[in-house]
């Protein structure tokens, strides 16, 4: 199925609906994992809005992404507890290791790096979450090692 056909299918329930921008974008992101340019333009057409309007809404919410997510999503908690326990240095280390800024994805689409607000596991601070696995009491060394493991296992 081409991207065009896939979008048509996902957007069908929202066609011509008023006030459906966010649900439509959520549906598209769920199906594609992100919002490519074509998704914005097809969503705009379906809702009889301009691409600019859709883009404005999509960029407002942190939830929407414009790049394909990496194979592994690495999240570093930047909540108060993690912050005082040194999470900024972990972010710096991983940014350097992966060669990207937080919020970006590596060129080989292996890793995406994100900073999140509070994960709610302050007792384990500083916390790193890779996909659905939680790693507590992180240090820069441990964080590097963990990513190496993900790098090696396909």
């Amino acid at each position: 199925m081409s991207l065009h056909e896939q979008l048509a299918l996902v957007l069908a329930p929202y066609r011509g609906e008023k006030g459906a921008t966010i649900p439509a974008l959520q549906a598209v992101q769920k199906a594609l994992g992100y919002l490519p340019e074509e998704a914005i333009s097809e969503t705009a057409k379906s809702l009889c809005l301009s691409e600019n309007e859709i883009y404005g809404v999509a960029t407002f919410y942190a939830h929407f992404r414009f790049e394909k997510e990496g194979e592994h999503m690495v999240r570093i908690c930047s909540g108060t507890a993690c912050h005082v326990r040194g999470s900024p240095r972990i972010v710096e280390t991983l940014e350097e290791k992966l060669g990207i800024h937080s919020g970006e994805t590596t060129k080989d689409h292996k890793f995406s790096l994100e900073r999140i607000a509070c994960f709610g596991s302050c007792a384990l601070a500083p916390v790193m979450v890779v996909d659905k696995t939680i790693y507590g009491r992180m240090t820069t060394t441990k964080a590097r090692q963990i990513l190496d493991e993900y790098q090696d296992t396909k």
Binding site: I40, S50, Y55, F60
Partner: protein, 893 residues
């Protein structure tokens, strides 16, 4: 309206229910600082500067979002409020560069004014440079988002008023910046370049590039836009007698602070263009050479005097003022002795004038532009309103926002389709059956306005009988529109009152153009949609003064005010006034004039400000006709394609170099004001005509100024009877305005139709004259684009407009393109029975399969070489909107 008594700063004020505190204060002349407020926009409450103290209310309500209530006691200027405002403003200014003296908006900046009022003593927070993007590559204006204070006025005007939604807030929080999807250039974002955002911007974030360093204007003059028939009022900004900027005028009934790209950015450049004609030219040895006015005028008068009255014709101009058209037709009738006078109205709304005059008694727009915004339903047929009449389209959007139903009938997917409740896409040239099908549904399902039909109309039974031929099955078969859609359209139109009906060239430029107009009139009468606010039959006229040129009698059959030349009493009146005997025979129409020239029956033409080589159908035929003439005089501001063929070219002054009036599409007579001296030796057209008329012994051409001409017009033209320059000083007047104390007529046919009763007309379906066949399998339809006007004589002189569009495109559906192996950007040959032209392909679904679309702005792709001269029998309009063509790929250009 409910009156509400309030007190602001101890001053008792009477407001109206629904007003905000800010509006009441403004009305009373009390200043409250604002940045995000704009009178055209819904309240936003973002800048927080308009805070007030209101007794009995907690906190500091923003006056822009607080409605007035009876007995409210409001304070706007307490020390505490000013202290709060200083704090808020400090936050705004912290990341706005305060190097005002190097800012192009210095002196015009609202942030400066607000800061001065609040009295910023010091800025304690450190200045932050935002490193926001700046964009300087789009035409006409620059965007520097470091100057932006995020008041959102640009975004809101683009969304709420213009409907373009080309810009928006992107990102969030401290990263928020105004932009387009994916940071694309404005040219790819759907921007119309109307400049509304620039006008709305309170700071130097958005600035018009051409005026950036021109400083402050020292005076401004209000005048009427010279482009389309909407008649927008412009405020020309002058510095040392040079126009530095053209702004939309706020306080008027037509455009209310809005204007389109051509009026906003497309004027100064053509006015001061180096190619303006600055001296008369005479053809010597086949070459146009400079001459003096005496030489040129002597030549014209001596040559024109040699011809018999049946051998000469005048082609007048819908670009010229009423006064100029009046003296032109007077010159033709009283001096040359001929009624061979016509102009481009023949090619646009002659079926409207002929059709509506027959069934209503008056051929003009029944309602006003502003009235469209009040409609509960709008039916738009045969007009691409947002490209051809951009400011009228804003009223449509306003109505839609208020909940009005919008029905579009157009084979092409026009911009307004995005806002429509229903879009019918009939085959080209099948409007009569479609409208009759709608009428039949309305009659069959008893949705008509029986009382209106009985009391105000006649001939209904004959019309009802003619509906028999239009069953929905037949109509669907002819038009290609599904039955349920026809029925739905009929329901929407008949049950949402008042319903306004807009139409333009898509209806009239057919060999059955008059029938199309009559079908529209039938539908409006059937549902009682005539004579009340928000209803009506509204032809949108194309040229700035095409309404006025018709009103002034630049037509072969009528004197000014549609008084028939064949009517004995009328003729005697004009004979007495002009002190001559007048020719009773009806003259030739525009299309007939070129035919007669071809056959050497017409030997001399005096042509003013038109460019028929590009604008008239079968352009090769027109060119040959003009070349066959013995003598051709052309008055124009530029050496147009047609002027190049002339024996004498007389340089005209442009609209900013002469006084006069234009009558817009809604019959509103508005002033055109002289703001600068004529460029070079150019002269106003009325002066030129009067010189020639006097040179040929004409009497009654001793006018000193156009105001005197208007007085003569008022004297002889009942519908203009009450119009004079003193009254127009206060604003436009809509005819009929018969006496000096008459306030003008915004809506026609309110009590009675002008002719008494509205007449229903039975109709038959007649297909277009030239249908596609094996050799010419596609249908070509034509129109205008937003960024250019007509044959481009003015707009193609404007650099920015050329950046936006600089070549003729042929729009073709992907299905047809695939079949012919055409991709976007290919150079094509479009071939009809009359000729061929090159044009670049634009593959788009805007065009339905089987139909190609071209504009006629570009001489290099002169579309009218292809179009058909088949005429409507009543109005003599040629079928510009449909002819058969074939397309080939071109291998060279």
């Amino acid at each position: 309206m409910d009156k509400i008594k309030i007190t602001i700063d101890n001053k008792p004020i009477t407001g109206r229910a629904g007003m905000t505190v800010l509006e009441a204060a403004k009305m009373a002349g009390i200043y409250i600082p604002t940045l995000c407020y704009h009178p055209a926009l819904t309240p936003f409450g973002a800048c927080r500067l308009c805070i007030t103290e209101i007794e009995g209310m907690r906190g500091f309500p923003t006056s822009c979002t607080t409605p007035v209530n009876d007995g409210m006691v409001i304070k706007t200027n307490t020390p505490q409020l000013q202290e709060l405002r200083r704090g808020i403003l400090e936050l705004t200014i912290t990341d706005h560069p305060y190097s005002c003296i190097t800012c192009p908006t210095n002196g015009r900046c609202e942030l400066q004014k607000v800061a001065a009022n609040i009295g910023m003593k010091e800025i304690t927070l450190p200045y932050i440079y935002k490193k926001r993007p700046t964009y300087r590559n789009d035409p006409f204006f620059d965007r520097d988002y470091n100057m932006c204070i995020l008041c959102g006025r640009c975004v809101r005007i683009c969304h709420e008023v213009r409907g373009a939604t080309a810009i928006t807030f992107t990102q969030r929080g401290i990263k928020t910046v105004i932009g387009t999807a994916f940071g694309r250039p404005l040219q790819e974002s759907g921007c119309q370049f109307c400049g509304a955002c620039v006008d709305a911007c309170p700071t130097g974030a958005l600035t018009e590039r051409a005026r950036e360093w021109a400083g402050l204007a020292d005076r401004d003059v209000v005048t009427t836009c010279p482009y389309c028939g909407v008649g927008c009022q412009l405020s020309l900004q002058l510095k040392k007698n040079r126009i530095i900027e053209v702004l939309p005028h706020e306080k008027n009934e037509v455009n209310r602070g809005q204007v389109c790209v051509k009026g906003r950015f497309g004027i100064t450049e053509f006015v001061y263009h180096p190619q303006r004609l600055t001296t008369p030219l005479i053809k010597r040895n086949g070459k146009l050479t400079e001459a003096s006015w005496d030489e040129a005028l002597n030549l014209v008068t001596s040559r024109l005097a040699n011809y018999h009255k049946d051998e000469v014709a005048i082609i007048a101009s819908a670009k010229c003022t009423n006064e100029e058209n009046y003296v032109t037709q007077k010159f033709g009738r009283a001096v040359l002795g001929t009624n061979n006078i016509d102009h481009c109205a023949r090619l646009c709304h002659s079926p409207t004038v002929a059709g509506l005059a027959r069934v209503f008694g008056s051929g003009a727009m029944t309602n006003s532009i502003h009235d469209i915004g009040e409609a509960a339903c709008i039916l738009i047929i045969g007009t691409n309103t947002s490209e051809s009449h951009p400011v009228t389209a804003l009223e449509v959007l306003k109505a839609v926002r208020r909940g009005a139903k919008l029905i579009i009938i157009n084979p092409r997917e026009i911009e307004l389709v995005r806002f429509a409740d229903l879009w019918l896409r009939p085959r080209l040239g099948t409007d009569v059956p479609l409208l009759m099908g709608m009428a039949r549904t309305i009659v069959d399902e008893n949705l008509m306005d029986q009382a209106f039909i009985t009391e105000r109309c006649e001939n209904f039974d004959a019309f009802k009988k003619s509906l028999q031929n239009f069953t929905l099955d037949t109509v669907t078969q002819i038009t290609g529109v599904p039955k349920d859609k026809i029925s739905e359209a009929a329901h929407i139109y008949a049950t949402n009152k008042p319903a306004s009906l807009l139409f333009a060239m898509g209806i009239t430029q057919h060999s059955h153009g008059t029938d199309n107009v009559l079908a529209i009139a039938n539908l409006a009468m059937l549902t009682g949609n005539i004579g009340s606010p928000g209803s009506g039959v509204n032809p949108l006229r194309g040229q700035n003064n095409v309404q006025g040129a018709c009103d002034m009698g630049s037509l072969p059959n009528v004197f000014p005010g549609y008084q028939q030349t064949t009517n004995e009493t009328v003729r005697q009146k004009f004979e007495a006034a002009w002190d001559v005997s007048l020719n009773p025979t009806q003259g030739l129409t525009l299309t007939e004039i070129f035919d007669a020239a071809h056959h050497k029956r017409i030997k001399a033409i005096h042509l003013i400000g038109e460019n028929p080589i590009l604008s008239d159908p079968d352009a090769n035929h027109v060119r040959k006709a003009l070349e066959t003439l013995e003598f051709l005089v052309v008055q124009d501001i530029f050496l147009s394609e047609t002027a190049r063929l002339a024996d004498v070219v007389l340089p005209s002054a442009s609209f900013v170099e002469r006084d006069g009036t234009f009558t817009n599409t809604e019959r509103r007579v508005q002033r055109v004001r002289k703001v600068i001296e004529p460029i070079g030796a150019s002269r106003p057209d009325w002066w030129i005509i009067c010189q020639i008329a006097r040179g040929m012994g004409g009497k009654g051409f001793d006018f000193e100024n156009p105001s005197q001409i208007m007085d003569e017009i008022a004297h002889l033209t009942p519908i203009y009877g009450g119009i004079n320059y003193r009254r127009l000083q206060k604003g436009g007047l809509q005819w009929p305005c018969p006496t000096p104390d008459h306030l003008g007529t915004p809506i026609l046919h309110t009590q009675l139709f002008t002719r008494g009763k509205g007449r229903f007309t039975p109709l038959q379906y007649r297909p277009s004259a030239e249908l596609p066949d094996k050799t010419y399998p596609l249908v070509l339809t034509t129109g205008r684009r937003l960024f250019h006007f007509h044959t481009g004589t003015m707009t193609r002189k404007v650099k920015g407009l050329n950046t936006l569009l600089n070549e003729g495109l042929v729009e073709i559906n992907p299905i047809d393109a695939d079949a012919l192996g055409i991709v976007d950007g290919d150079i094509l040959k479009v071939i009809s029975r009359r000729g061929e032209v090159p044009a670049k392909a634009r593959v788009t679904e805007w065009s339905p399969a089987g139909v190609v679309y071209m504009d006629f702005h570009f001489a290099e792709s002169s579309t009218n070489i292809l179009t058909n001269t088949a005429l409507d029998l009543v109005a003599k309009i040629p079928e510009l909107k449909a002819c058969a063509v074939r397309i080939e790929k071109s291998h060279h250009r």
